[in-house]
Amino acid sequence: MADTAYDVIIIGSGPGGYVTAIRAAQLGLKTAIVEREHLGGICLNWGCIPTKALLRSAEILDHANHAKSFGLKLDGTMTADVKDVVARSRGVSGRLNGGVGFLMKKNKIDVIWGEAKLTKPGEIVVGKPSKPAVEPQHPAPKGTKGEGTYTAKHIIVATGARPRALPGIEPDGKLIWTYFEAMKPDTMPKTMVVMGSGAIGIEFASFYRSMGVDVTVVELMANVMPVEDDEISKFARKALEKRGLKIITEAKVTKVDKAANSITAHVETKDGKVSQITTDHLISAVGVQGNIENLGLEALGVKTDRGCIVIDGYGKTSVPGIYAIGDVAGPPMLAHKAEHEGVICIEKIAGVPGVHPMDHGKIPGCTYCNPQVASVGLTEAKAKEQGRDIRVGRYSFNANGKAIALGEDNGMIKVIFDKTTGELLGAHMCGAEVTELIQGFVVAMNLETTEEDLMHTIFPHPTLSEMMKESVLDAYGRVLNA
């Protein structure tokens, strides 16, 4: 095989791309991955990971501000040093970025540095990036291959997504930020408006609020985190407002007026009233869109729909030999969905027996605001919409020993079962550490347990997880500690 011929080339080294590459290598396929900017993609350079680092600083600051309630005395005050908080976040990201480079080397996956374009089925040309990289970047890995023509039997597009921009309110990197700028402030602003209350918007709102910023969230829908269960969204909103976050729902920013060092957002509510909020920065977090441009997809006839590549359950596009996974292949745009989609795609290519298409009904979602929100499966409204006869169980953090001991007694867990079959249809949580708890229900759903098996499962005491069992018991009128 020529040096530039591969079994599989993956375009994009985000969590979907690099995990797919490793799985391909495990399956004995000669694999290369193309990256134009940063190994690990948005997720670990400008998304999931660095924001978790920022939020950890915020969490420790929150705890310190409540030290007294734990019987602890802090002499003087604890304040955030913006530069150091950001530096830590970049450091965390850099460590993982280097880790992906190591994983590629370990699995003998060639890294091709540059921007790829599909020229014909089975061939790409790698050239210079069509857009400048977001700075600062971690150093590019050593030993990569460069610009040129490469061939592969299978080409997997995993180019991810980028922030969506609203016309007239395009991010400028100074007054109007996307997550890129919001992740590396030079100084802490005094005030801020966050447009959009999805996971990205609400996490930044929560972070900046913890840092003492006066934050206003503007959401188009009736609830914050509108994909979540109505009850959980309302619960989270109350908790966030208690922390001093201002939230305006069923409202949109219609236009902005920029001054030298401030920006005025015109916020129109459902009743048609327009108010003006003048603030230091506006964060635009109104969703992300697939990176489908400059790939040569159109010329090859790869079908796209609303900014995403159309695929079947195994990542196949409308053109044989070309596949797509992750954000670029459509929602939900989540790293773990991309990873799983990639594994399914490559295993199907390699002919691994027992591969089944992605089940979109069992993809968990986590939001790391304070308090955290996590969920999997159907919301109560969706279940009813599907005509399901359901049983709902709830349990509150304020009746759980561990939660009280942690000083985290504000939260709730909600489960939804099919009344006839006992199938666990959905689980929804808000409160401390729920992003770690949710996986218990994800495993349960994936193994198709019913309420009976969950009730027969021993949950350790004292843990937050006991609330999961209690919520199940509650759905069947058997709750113990409530």
């Binding site: 079959t421 347990t449 019913t450 009976e452 098996d453």
Partner: protein
């Protein structure tokens, strides 16, 4: 402390057996290794040996009792120095029965100290289902409940989850396709309790007997072997798509070689030859070698994978009073004819005495059924799973054959190969049979 003797499991799949005969009586002294009883299982009669020494204090299950569950108490042994009164005092839950029910009929006392095998807590609403032979069916809890609610028998479904686990989508597919219905589908009963594909699908005993006049017949209850034959062969014909291939083999060369080999057999001091090969022995060897040459036919079917065997283990149907059994010549392709011949003699003799061990007749990768000695010209046999093939061998007889465009007379036998078409297709069966014919007609090749 009295020692409980329970019904032993004489094979991994044995669930119950008939207590055919007691070799000891109450009061007898036994030591470890003594044969104390004979147990009849589905296929064989086996001896039960005492593990401990002592005096037989009480025989709980009288001989002739059928369907004694494995681990059921069958007798109580008294240790040295104990007398019958110890039976009364041994009320620790495991020995109580012997004293409690001294004269009760053979049936199992309610409180029998049965080790909890197969005993299910009555309150367990969702037992893990199992197949007819007791092996576990892997399925998700949701799939089990959906199967129960929809009257499906999990044993009839195949799973698409990891390692063949039956999951929700398999149930939904079965509902959509209208397959997998439990035979009697009471929605309330767990699917696992639904009858497995049973030979009883035909007319009931009552319906049959109604057709004959009272007194015009005698009823002879089935023994374990008869039930097993009925069950297995019904299962085979119902689930295995049979396919048949026949071929004629000329035997003259084989008979000549056989005479030569037998004539050359060394004799011991009594003048007894070390071996005496039969045509059947050579047939076994020829089939084993043919399977070695055509390994794709040496397989077993499972729903998930083809089981490709590394050796040809040839079962040989042996007719015995009351039924038949197939002792197995293991790795027959590796064994000299003399070894095959002597093994067959030994196993054939013990088969007739129903003294074969389970490992001697369970498994195998193919089988030979020979009715040549009864003058049968040709017939087709029923595949005996897990085998994928069975060779039905007819009689060798002089027949007119065409040789060099002229009529001639040759010894010819007709063999018919039955195959499980799920794993051995027609052409593959033909290939196997051609290889077999090659060995039979060029028998010297079996010796190298």
């Amino acid at each position: 402390m009295p020692i409980n003797i329970t019904m032993p499991a004489l094979s991994p799949t044995m669930e119950e057996g008939n207590l055919a005969k007691w070799m000891v009586k109450e009061g007898d002294t036994v030591s470890a290794g003594d044969v104390i009883a004979e147990i009849e299982t589905d296929k064989a009669t086996m001896e039960v040996e005492a593990v401990d020494e002592g005096t037989v204090g009480k025989i709980v299950i009288p001989e002739g009792t059928e369907g004694v569950k494995v681990n059921e108490l069958i007798a109580v042994l008294l240790e040295d120095g104990e007398d019958a009164s110890a039976l009364e005092s041994s009320g620790n839950g495991t020995g109580a029965v012997a004293g409690n029910a001294p004269d009760k009929a053979p049936a199992v006392p309610d409180s029998a100290p049965v080790i909890e095998v197969g005993a299910k807590a009555a309150g367990d609403p969702m037992p893990a289902p199992s197949t007819a032979d007791g092996s576990r069916i892997f399925s998700s809890p949701l799939a089990r409940r959906l199967a129960q609610q929809n009257g499906l028998d999990l044993a009839q479904l195949s799973g698409s989850g990891p390692h063949g686990r039956i999951i929700k989508r398999d149930i939904e597919a079965a509902i959509a396709a209208g397959t997998g219905k439990a035979a009697a589908a009471p929605a309330a009963a767990p699917a696992a309790a639904a009858p497995a594909p049973a030979p009883a699908a035909g007319p009931s005993a009552e319906q049959v007997l109604k057709l004959f006049e009272d007194g015009s017949y005698e009823l002879e209850p089935h023994d374990g072997m008869r039930k097993t034959i009925a069950k297995r062969l019904t299962e085979s014909k119902q689930t295995i798509p049979h396919f048949y291939v026949s071929v004629d083999c000329e035997l003259d060369a084989l008979l000549a070689l056989r005479a030569q080999l037998n004539g050359a057999a060394p004799t011991d001091k009594d003048g007894k030859p070390a071996y005496k090969l039969s045509v059947n022995d050579m047939t076994i060897k020829a089939l084993a070698l043919a399977l070695r040459d055509v390994p794709d036919a040496n397989v077993s079917w499972t729903d998930d994978a083809m089981v490709k065997h590394k050796h040809a283990d040839v079962g040989v149907a042996v007719s015995i009073p009351g039924g038949l059994i197939t002792p197995i010549v293991r790795q027959a392709e590796m064994k000299p004819l003399s070894v095959i011949s002597n093994e067959m003699k030994d196993m054939g003799r013990r088969a007739k005495e129903r003294k074969l061990k389970p490992e001697e007749y369970q498994g195998g990768t193919t089988a030979v059924s020979n009715m040549g000695m009864m003058g049968v010209k040709d017939f087709s046999a029923v595949v005996n799973p897990p085998h994928a093939t069975i060779l039905a061998v007819g009689a060798g007889e002089k027949r007119p054959v065409v040789k060099d465009d002229a009529l001639a007379v040759a010894m010819v036998m007709t063999v018919t190969l039955s195959t499980d078409h799920r794993c051995v297709d027609g052409a593959l069966g033909a290939e196997l049979l051609a290889a077999f014919k090659g060995y039979i007609e060029n028998p010297m090749s079996m010796l190298v």
